[in-house]
């Protein structure tokens, strides 16, 4: 199911007593990492699929090569160090290949063009803006379990790696070449950039 837009009308229709029930349902559907599952490394093919996904996810036009290494290192550390992630990344690879077949009629995901890969990801996740709180809430209730798991453990992990570990590229999106964590002229803030 793909749902885009603000969802304001839906918000108005939700009775006020629902939040508690909604919270319980969302809690039951909340994806959990399987902490008994082993850690380890993805195969080169699996990693290539994850990087093909990362290229679609990161919010930059071109220049992915420069940050690919950072994200690959992050994913490797993640699957080696945090129990549950190796399994989730593997499940994500399978889900992407399966959805690629269903959406485009061919695959695997890593061999699709970037436009096709974007189409595949769009088939798995809802889109909503930062202030679309209602769509975000509805996603927790109605997106498929696979989609929720994919969002929570894979998409967020890759995007977090980009924003935290490729900070120069991330802040460049808004035109900042200096950003928190980088020293700068201590009086610069008092002037127009």
């Amino acid at each position: 199911m793909i749902l885009a837009g603000s969802g304001i009308a839906t918000a108005a229709a939700v009775p006020s007593q629902l939040p508690k029930i909604e919270g319980r349902i969302a809690g039951l559907r909340r994806p959990q990492l399987e902490e008994d599952s082993p850690t380890g490394e993805l195969t080169p093919r699996e990693m290539a699929t994850v990087m093909a996904l990362a290229e679609v996810l990161v919010p930059i036009d071109g220049g992915f090569r420069g940050i690919e290494e950072v994200i690959e290192r992050h994913v490797r550390q993640r699957t080696l160090q945090t129990k549950g992630y190796l399994q989730e990344y593997r499940k994500a690879v399978a889900l992407l290949d399966e959805t690629a077949e269903a959406v485009t009629g061919h695959g695997p995901f890593m061999e699709l063009s970037k436009a096709e890969r974007e189409e595949v990801v769009a088939a798995l996740l809802w889109k909503y803006n930062a202030d679309d709180h209602m769509v975000r809430r509805l996603e927790r209730l109605f997106l498929s379990k696979e989609g929720l798991t994919f969002r929570r453990f894979i998409v967020r992990d890759i995007l977090a790696a980009f924003f935290r570990k490729s900070r120069q590229a991330a802040w460049a999106i808004v035109g900042y070449d200096l950003f928190p964590g980088r020293p700068q002229d201590p009086q610069a803030y008092a002037r127009m950039p």
């Binding site: 996810l57 202030d131 935290r164 999106i173 928190p180 964590g181 009086q187 610069a188």
Partner: protein
């Protein structure tokens, strides 16, 4: 250099702001001082790496290494959170604090006589004024004396103030229209090199992130270092004080502390100073109950743990059409204290306006949205750099029902009863919030913002705590209604002092740190005059 087991002149419990300042003030006067700190000693040299780790992996550099040590419970109307609200380490909560160094207003000390509310402090602003000046020098406060609502001062700020943020002009224009006066903000942060610290280099991680990688912002580690340099002070980290023990004469003769492996030690001294902040100071006194002090040490009044207070924060946010440039520094540079010395404080409390150039970072937008790729980039560009915030810091009155007690069921790492927080707010606080939020909305209306994105009920529901723990060991003249006297000596225990925000009678509506430092210097001067 005094060793841990020697009899010290003074044993200080807690190496935060009060403990650090006291240690230096006493050691520099030749007293032999031992400081016991429950938490570890972090290396300032490792702070750049700690900042990088925080930014790259989200690892909190001040997270307790022993979480079981810091368990607590709640049983009040409002669950009061302690996570990330205090730091147990050499430096204490100054490792994470914002750095605002403000004096309480004259009226804050006279709530009962001026407004018929709460209680008066047993000291007046005039008693503390010289010590505020000394505290500003000790902390290296950078300020501009342009606040007409501030209490009088007899000394200049030791460091030049930080100029306004470029985007403060939006607040300035709106305030001018409404007759509200905006002014600069004093910070315990080096605007120029000071003592052993460099000038601020705008890493912009001091506010939201809670770390200055170059120690340009004051932490009480500075005073601990200075105390050690005198050769008269030693600091014992990872020394969790469990009991304060008294002799037959009802004087403290030693404290019992445990290291993380639960090994017990004792520290003797002639005088003891409890500087463990409002929650742990009260808890330790209660844990130290004995046959002589059945309700808890120094608690004949039953006031230990009562009147726990904080400042309440309400944010009003707005989106502007024109761009602003947030996150270039980690602190705000403009405030208005016009509503602090209010003449009608009996109906609603004081309100401090903090003008912030803020808003979501690119990562925040990504986290809140369900977008990726080009759509996410577009959303980030749309959302970033159009937000301003007015933070309203408001007053909470002391209330005996807000308490720190011992939880009868939950124990900490050492087997001691965890602190139990009972907390609620009254109409006074709620009415103050409503008034403040309306004021914030008026300022944004005058600014002609595109949209107020947080205001009204939303601001109230998303209230934040200042994490300024105050009260619980109130100072006063009457031993029946207070724990310590105006010299901060426990009424019932001659050689025990309590120093810090725990002794505050009321909380005012500005950050407590400078008042903590001023009280610490004053108490140290008093203790140093005693015969040893």
């Amino acid at each position: 250099m005094i060793q841990g087991n020697d009899v010290a002149d003074v044993c200080i419990i807690g190496a935060g702001l009060a403990g650090g300042v006291m240690a230096y003030e006493l050691a520099s006067r030749g007293l032999k001082v031992v400081v016991l700190e429950a938490g570890p000693r972090h290396s300032p040299e490792a702070r750049v790496d700690a900042m990088r780790e925080l930014l790259e992996s989200g690892k909190d550099p001040w997270a307790p290494e022993l979480p079981e040590r810091d368990v607590y419970t709640n049983d009040g109307e409002i669950a009061y959170p302690l996570e990330r609200a205090r730091v147990k380490a050499v430096g204490g909560s100054t490792l994470r604090w914002g750095g605002l160094a403000l004096r309480f207003h004259e009226t804050d000390f006279q709530m009962k006589s001026l407004y018929g509310l709460a209680e008066d402090w047993p000291i007046r602003y005039a008693d503390l004024e010289p010590f505020y000046g000394k505290a500003e020098l000790a902390l290296g406060v950078a300020g501009t004396a342009d606040n007409p609502f501030a209490p009088y001062r007899t000394t200049n700020y030791p460091l030049p103030g930080f100029p306004y943020n470029y985007d403060d002009r939006h607040f300035q224009n709106a305030c001018n229209k409404l007759g509200i006066l905006m002014h600069h903000v004093p910070w315990a942060r080096n605007s120029i090199p000071f003592q052993d610290g460099p000038a601020c280099m705008a890493f912009a991680t001091c506010g939201n992130y809670g770390i200055c990688p170059i120690s340009a912002q004051y932490t009480s580690e500075r005073h601990i270092r200075l105390a050690e340099k005198t050769g008269n002070a030693s600091v014992i980290p990872n020394a969790n004080v469990r009991r304060i023990q008294t002799d037959k004469l009802r004087r403290v003769n030693h404290v019992v502390y445990a290291t993380p492996d639960k090994t017990q030690h004792e520290q003797s001294a002639r005088t003891f100073v409890l500087c463990a902040h409002a929650i742990e100071s009260a808890r330790l006194l209660l844990l130290s109950a004995s046959a002589q002090f059945p309700q808890g040490l120094a608690n004949g009044s039953g006031m230990v743990g009562k009147n726990f207070m904080d400042h309440l924060y309400f944010a009003v946010d707005a989106r502007l059409k024109e761009p602003v440039f947030p996150h270039r520094i980690g602190f705000h540079t403009a405030e208005s204290h016009q509503f602090i010395p209010t003449g009608k404080r009996d109906e609603t409390g004081t309100i401090k306006l903090e003008f912030e150039v803020t808003g979501p970072t690119p990562a925040d937008v990504a986290r809140r949205s369900g977008l990726w790729g080009k759509a996410l980039a577009e959303e980030i560009r749309q959302s970033f750099g159009h937000h301003l915030r007015i933070s309203l810091e408001t007053e909470q009155l002391p209330d005996e029902r807000n308490t720190i007690t011992l939880d009868p069921h939950i124990k900490d790492h050492f087997g001691d009863a965890a602190p139990r927080i009972t907390y609620s707010l009254g109409e006074y606080e709620r009415d103050t919030a409503v008034k403040g939020i309306a004021m914030g909305e008026r300022i944004f209306d005058a600014m002609g913002v595109e949209e107020i994105t947080r205001g009204g009920r939303d601001s109230i529901e998303r209230m934040n705590f200042g994490k300024h723990h105050m009260g619980t060991c109130r100072m006063g003249i009457d031993p029946a209604t207070s724990v310590v006297n105006p010299d901060l000596r426990a009424h019932e225990v001659e050689n025990l002092f309590v120093v810090g925000s725990s002794v505050f009678v009321t909380g005012g509506s500005v950050q407590p740190s400078l008042t903590i430092a001023a009280l610490a210097i004053r108490a140290a001067e008093f203790i140093a005059q005693q015969e040893y």
